[in-house]
């Protein structure tokens, strides 16, 4: 059985700023990281591999430099790394992205091994839509189990999986036949750290690149052309300016007294 993990290279959002003029993300000089949720998907795949001995393929759609993301996955012990990269894939929304990813998974299924599980992070930290995983499942007609925080059992002979889903204020135990697509939350596991030997091997490894010549998808259904949604504006939400009370440096006690008065006046400090 083959497990496919979808991973995405995202800008380190703690370091992202928005250009006040163009309202777009300032990406220059911002380091890229593996989408944090995806690292948990990857870890779960690696644990299943450790336990069951299945193989793992990691796929990522992105520009050529997204290769670094796949190399990180290789350093952790995956078996196949495939970068889906082509200019015609660019500018894709969640629909067009899931079309490309689904096509790649179908190709892996046909050419490498029977795909039993697809693992995705619950969402990416740049787009935050949480739609790509379910999109893949819909296109491949796989069962979709979202927000998984625990794989309770995986029965390969009966082709069944039972998971716990972390929902607001409750958990849901769900069982589904394979193949299935899971999106995972951070509580699922703690990602491992790469061993140096594996990092060195990964650095030398060649990441396979599949472009649209290989996937042969209809250009109207992928990339910008295949994307019914586009971002019209990105902005930081406006927030009312705060107020500075007193002088905390020169007179901290006085400033604290002013604050207490203010809060009491607004009845926000029950005594």
């Amino acid at each position: 059985m083959l497990i496919v993990v979808c991973i995405k290279q995202v800008p380190d959002t703690t370091q992202v700023q928005i250009d006040p003029v163009t309202n777009t993300l300032v990406r220059e000089g911002i380091p890229f990281i593996v989408n944090p949720y995806d690292t948990h998907a990857l870890e779960e795949a690696l644990r299943l591999k450790d336990r069951l001995g299945c193989k793992i393929a990691a796929i990522s759609m992105g520009p050529p430099n997204a290769e670094a993301t796949l190399k990180k996955a290789l350093a952790l012990g995956i078996d196949h790394a495939i970068l889906l990269s082509d200019r015609v894939f660019g500018g894709a929304d969640t629909l067009a992205t899931s079309t490309v990813l689904a096509a790649a998974i179908a190709k892996l299924h046909a050419e490498v091994d029977e795909v039993g599980l697809v693992l995705c992070g619950k969402q990416t930290i740049d787009g935050d839509t949480a739609q790509v995983g379910p999109g893949i499942a819909s296109r491949l007609n796989y069962r979709q189990l979202t927000l998984v925080d625990k794989i309770i059992s995986l029965d390969l002979s009966a082709k069944k999986i039972r998971v716990s889903r972390k929902l607001e204020g409750r958990h849901e135990i769900v069982e589904a036949p394979l193949p299935a697509m899971l999106t995972v939350v951070r509580e699922l596991n703690r990602p491992r750290y790469p061993k140096v030997q594996m990092r060195l091997a990964a650095a030398e490894a060649v990441v396979e690149v599949w472009d649209n010549k290989i996937l042969q998808l209809d250009e109207q259904k992928i990339g910008l052309k295949g994307s019914p949604t586009w971002v019209s504006k990105i902005f930081s939400p406006e927030r009312d300016k705060g107020e500075i009370l007193g002088d905390g440096y020169a007179d901290p006690a006085g400033a604290a007294a002013l604050l207490i008065d203010k809060l009491m006046a607004k009845d926000m400090l029950p005594l």
Partner: protein, 665 residues
């Protein structure tokens, strides 16, 4: 009265064979270690050997060391007597010291007699100490008492032997006993005294008995030596000769190519010198008595680490020689012969063990080698380190704060960027000085002082990156290597030659570790710079500050023990407050760690007493108003610890803050 060569010779040959076999068995194991050059600077090495081995410099650092000094030098003197004894046993009456010219024989005989007496007294004291006040409870070993007993037997037998020979000579020559013994007493006081007490009729039997008692004790000693901890008699002198001449404050680089192994997870991955160290340890326990982890009840005991390496080598040696798999793992919970992961992670790399070791064993590098194995080859480490490693690699600071915030501490100040043409010094602020809210105050104080003194300086601003100290000490050499390469390349590109640091960890890394990357920087710790500026009259103190009250100074391990900077911070405090800071009981080279070094800053402290609280209690004994530090990690450990100890009426101040208080407020 003749010894029997026909009996003695075979016994001697057998003993020497056992000795040689024992030595070979162990020394051949040392050859399993990895190559390492310890034969550079022979002249210096000879000096070190004379100082530490023959001069017993470290041994004498503790009062009880005097006892060992006596045993050591008695041994050297008595080697003459024992050589004579052996030759005499093989060729009776041919080689005797007494045949030497009288002017030579007289002082020699006197020295031998006195040395024997001193040795006897010293081993008695040693035995009593082991019974009543052992250095540590497990030191009461049979092994120790056996060897002490053996030495005592040797001395007693030798006195009896000499006495019987004197008495026999007296009888034979028909000399007047009173005047004869009076003369003899000037030559061999103890033996002559005993000679007067021996019954004349049994002299022959006494002589024979004493001779054989001496012979048996000596041969037993020879046989026993290589298989016991007393092997140090053979290895300590070469070990002092072979010790690392530079302070062991860095770790060797690793080469990151496919197929290499990283760190030490199997005993033969250590260098031959590391293995020699394990055979040099006498288990005196001085390391464990100064180790902050051992003292506060953590699983680490530096003596046990060295002992376990030896036991592991002995157990696995045969298999390893045949390139087989070891029987006992080096790292594991398998008891003697294995070092537990917990103890490996408990080390603060403070270096106190190495400073205390009389035979210059290098404990810390061995522990870091094991950390390297765990991190790099097994990816196994306490879970709290995962974030640290990722933050360091991804954002080049321990907290994972966005690098763009590195200059927030100076947003209100007018500070130049470092430029090789317009600024002399780079002020390398460091992660704590840039991001930690308490330590930012130190950076601000430093900036103001530098301007006040008219120093030409600049910062790297948002381009500054972490030096990598913590990851290196934690054994993540792979990440350190990347960070060091980047920093070295940037320093070279920017033309940095002179660097000021306010953090002893940045200080040691830039100064000592980056040298391995071909970068020779002139790195100065801020306490040294401030002291120099005071001396040069560039910082003029109009008044002293009373704000600090009474002060006590805490030495940072990486400033003091690892880099020998002790006086500068004290001089700065004295100049600023008008009074020398008081000293804690353990200070300067024997100072006690705050608990944050070696990456422990980023780890949970499990079990036992907290290291920082132990140090705080020691500081509080001096009833200070202010505890002065010269390290951001010490600052954090003291600030936190004082709150826990409900003693936050005591302030913690960096030396720069003390100086700024006197100068600017």
């Amino acid at each position: 009265m003749t010894p029997h060569p026909s009996l003695f010779a075979p016994l001697l040959i057998a003993s020497l064979a056992v000795f040689a076999w024992g030595c070979w068995k162990r020394l051949s194991l040392i050859s399993l270690g990895q190559p390492e050059d310890r034969f550079n600077n022979i002249g210096t090495r000879i000096g070190e050997m004379l100082r530490y081995a023959f001069g017993q410099k470290r041994v004498l650092a503790k009062p009880f060391g005097f006892n060992h000094f006596i045993i050591f030098w008695s041994f050297l003197i008595l080697m003459v007597a024992n050589t004579e004894f052996i030759l005499n046993g093989l060729f009776p009456h041919t080689i005797k010291l007494v045949k030497l010219p009288f002017e030579l024989y007289l002082p020699l005989a006197f020295m031998i007699d006195i040395a024997s007496l001193l040795a006897l007294a010293a081993v008695t004291v040693a035995a009593l100490r082991r019974i009543f006040a052992p250095p540590y409870p497990e030191a009461r070993t049979l092994d120790a008492f056996f060897i002490l007993g053996l030495i005592a037997t040797l001395m007693l037998a030798s006195f009896t032997l000499n006495a019987s020979e004197l008495a026999a000579y007296m009888l034979k020559s028909g000399a007047d006993p009173v005047s004869f013994l009076a003369t003899a007493r000037k030559m061999m006081p103890v033996s002559a005294l005993l000679a007067g007490l021996l019954p004349p009729l049994q002299l022959e039997i006494i002589h024979t008995a004493a001779w054989w008692a001496h012979a048996v004790a000596l041969l037993a000693f020879i046989c026993y030596l290589p298989i016991s901890k007393h092997m140090h008699i053979l290895t300590a002198i070469p070990n002092c000769f072979l010790h690392r001449l530079e302070k062991p404050n860095t770790q060797p680089r690793e080469e990151f190519t496919i197929g290499n192994t990283f760190g030490v997870g199997q005993v033969d991955r250590y260098s031959w010198k590391d293995l020699l160290d394990s055979f040099t340890c006498t288990e005196c326990g001085r390391c464990q008595m100064v180790c902050p982890a051992s003292i506060t009840g953590k699983p680490l005991n530096p003596r046990a680490v060295i002992h376990d390496i030896k036991v592991n080598l002995l157990a696995n040696g045969a298999a390893l020689k045949k390139k087989g798999t070891p029987q006992i793992p080096l790292i594991g919970e398998d008891g003697e012969g294995s070092v537990s992961e917990e103890s490996i992670w408990a080390c603060t790399t403070c270096g106190a063990c190495m400073e205390a070791c009389p035979v210059l064993i290098e404990h810390m590098p061995k522990i870091i080698q094991m950390r390297r194995h765990l991190v790099e080859s097994e990816a196994k480490f306490p879970e709290e380190l995962l974030n640290l490693f990722e933050n360091m690699e991804g954002r080049s600071n321990p907290w994972g704060i966005a690098p763009s915030e590195r200059t927030k501490w100076c947003s209100q100040l007018d500070i130049k960027q470092f430029d090789r043409d317009t600024t002399e010094y780079l002020f390398y602020v460091g992660c704590a000085g840039s991001f930690d809210s308490r330590n930012k105050h130190v950076s601000v104080a430093m900036a103001q002082l530098l301007d006040k003194a008219g120093v030409s300086w600049g910062i790297l601003g948002k381009e500054e990156k972490c030096c990598g100290d913590s990851v290196r000490r934690l054994g993540n050499e792979y990440v350190f290597d990347k960070m060091a390469r980047e920093n070295v390349a940037m320093f070279i590109e920017r033309g940095v030659t002179k660097v000021i640091t306010q953090c002893p960890h940045c200080f040691t890394t830039l100064k000592n570790d980056y040298r391995q990357y071909g970068l020779e920087l002139e790195v100065i710790h801020h306490s040294e710079l401030l002291r120099n500026l005071l001396q040069e009259g560039r910082l003029l103190l109009g008044k002293t500050t009373q704000e600090m009250g009474t002060t006590v100074f805490h030495d940072s391990c990486y400033l003091g023990r690892h880099n020998d900077v002790y006086d500068a911070p004290r001089a700065v405090i004295e100049a600023a407050t008008g009074q020398a800071p008081s000293e804690m009981e353990r200070n300067r080279s024997s100072a006690f760690c705050c608990g944050a070094g070696g990456g422990r800053m980023w780890m949970e402290e499990h079990g036992g007493e907290r290291i920082n609280l132990t140090r705080i209690n020691e500081a509080l004994e001096q009833s200070p108003d202010t505890i002065c530090v010269a390290c951001p990690y010490c600052m954090t450990m003291f600030e936190d610890g004082l709150k826990d100890a409900k003693a936050d009426y005591v302030k913690v101040r960096d030396v720069a803050e003390v100086m700024a208080e006197a100068l600017l407020h």
